[in-house]
Amino acid sequence: MMKIYDYELSVNCYKQRLLLGILGVPYESIPVDFFPGWEHKGEAFAEINPLGHIPVIDDDGYILRDAQAILVYLALRYDPSGLWYPVTDPRVAGEVASWMAFAEGTTNTASAARLHDTLGYPFDIDTVRAGAQKLFRVLDDHVWFHEQQERPWVASAPHPTIADLALFPDVMLSEQGGISLLDYPALRRWTDRVKHIPGFTVMSGIFPAPAGAAPAGAAPGGATVGRPR
């Protein structure tokens, strides 16, 4: 069975759990003592990932690191619909790749702010917060513009893609790094749409959408009802 080297409070590990849940792929979570144990920086873990980062997956002996890379692999390997990473449309595929690269930026800023404020990581908090706000401004404008064109997702496909999943956790947990979503109304609407994707699962600190009305255009194929895990 697929294994994930995993930490509950990691947004980058959560992205993988989120996609696997949506795709209905069973997996085994191998808990890494990321905090307070720093296990991912230890010698034993260096054999698995010399960069000292999680997540890493082990799919039947195939080992892959890097949150965005793993999303690509999982979508291509386990999504028969081909919608989550739509490679047949070169423009959409290009957009997905571009927003996946953008997610690396939110990890270095919004995630960093949260690690500083919550676990005491020694980042310069003003710098990382300002960096996150700059990126969120770009993303909020983009999502607002897409909404005007009746495109509910970050790529211009009519359904969500792995780019939405790559960006969602950092946006959702940004308040824990002192970045208020009050300034980003389009992002708040978009996170609400993500929460209504069938198969959506939560991580600690993220709560499900309140039961009741689903936002328009929430799910691929127009289905809007969440599926219990």
Binding site: E8, P31, F35, L119, G120, E175, Q176, S204, G205
Partner: protein, 322 residues
């Protein structure tokens, strides 16, 4: 580091004698690197800490200009603060406490799994964190499917005893789908809650695999400022199966669910006036806790009641019928 304003230098902003003359946890001992400076905040002032070369003795002092991560010889530090090592944590004080720290008898049992489940900073006051920990009513809504589940949301009547030393709530019963990592099924779980320190709380809950024993989980709060806390999650479990990492993960999953709830409470300091908040939050143990803090005369990280509180505090009337 962005931590450079004068408020973070070595002078505490706290003038409350009750808070000053108290012991506080600042770190798990094993998480301190010998010979290197670690920095944190206590009662509004910056403190630094290290372990002596060889690692045996923790040393704590009000911060000067030294940077976090710099090398330091603990033996050569002037102005050392008093230190205790207990439950695996380093405790210190900015005052002169006349009492020692409370005990947890279970820690002496040989098969206990004792560790720091994680020291996590939360943008709230220490008393808000303690009060949330005491409240079973939030389990179904915040720890859905784990520590509670709808529709079994009822908190049954329980007993509260208050002395000068501590608050003890007993016979607390709640239905839990997954009471601990070692639980395989839903069960009625019995809790005992104990508050032996203004900012420390522990719970004793029946062990799913051995009804005669109780797991001990504690929240030891380090008040960094009045509205910011570092919550040290202490675990003292009976579990022969799960790894330390898995036990920590379960605890962090639970505490990570509480964190945004705590951070969205307003005001961040805990109001001690009994009329300040709706009875929903103010259940029996919470009312007792607020009165107990008032009776101690604590003013740090709370909003004191305007009228002086009568001492000794009368036993609170039950607020839930059952």
């Amino acid at each position: 580091m962005a931590v450079s304003d004068t408020a973070t230098m070595g002078t505490p902003s706290c003038t409350d004698p009750v808070a000053l003359h108290e012991w506080y946890p600042i770190s798990a001992l094993v998480e301190i690197t010998p010979g290197l400076v670690h920095r944190t905040q206590l009662l509004g002032g910056a403190i630094s800490y290290t372990r002596t070369p060889g690692g045996s003795r923790p040393v704590v002092w009000p911060s000067g200009g030294e940077a976090s991560g710099a090398e330091v010889d603990g033996l050569a530090v002037d102005h050392q603060l008093p230190v205790r090592v207990k439950f695996g944590y380093v405790w210190t004080t900015l005052g002169r406490p006349e009492h020692e720290l409370f005990d947890i008898a279970e820690c002496d049992e040989a098969d206990r799994r004792i560790q720091n489940g994680g020291s996590i900073m939360v943008a709230t006051s220490a008393p808000r964190a303690i009060e949330n920990f005491l409240d079973m009513g939030h389990f179904p809504y915040v720890h859905t499917g784990i520590l509670g589940a709808e529709p079994r949301t009822e908190v049954l009547e329980y007993d509260v005893e208050v002395t000068d030393e501590e608050i003890l709530a007993t016979r607390c019963l709640f239905f839990q789908p997954q009471a601990a990592l070692s639980a395989s099924d839903g069960q009625m779980t019995e809790y005992v809650y104990r508050v032996p320190h203004p900012y420390c709380v522990m719970l004793y809950k029946s062990v799913p695999t051995d009804a005669s024993r109780m797991d001990v989980i504690a929240l030891f709060c380090q008040p960094m400022t009045e509205e910011r806390v570092r919550a040290h999650n202490f675990l003292c479990m009976v579990d022969a199966v799960n790894s330390d990492t898995a036990l920590k993960r379960f605890q962090q999953l639970i505490f990570g669910q509480d964190k945004p709830i705590l951070e969205n409470q307003s005001p961040r300091r805990l109001p001690l006036d009994p009329r300040a908040e709706t009875p929903i939050r103010a259940d029996k143990s919470s009312i007792s806790y607020r009165r107990w803090l008032s009776a101690k005369g604590l003013t740090y990280a709370v909003i004191p009641a305007t009228a002086p509180s009568p001492t000794p505090a009368p036993t609170p009337a039950p607020t839930r019928s059952s």
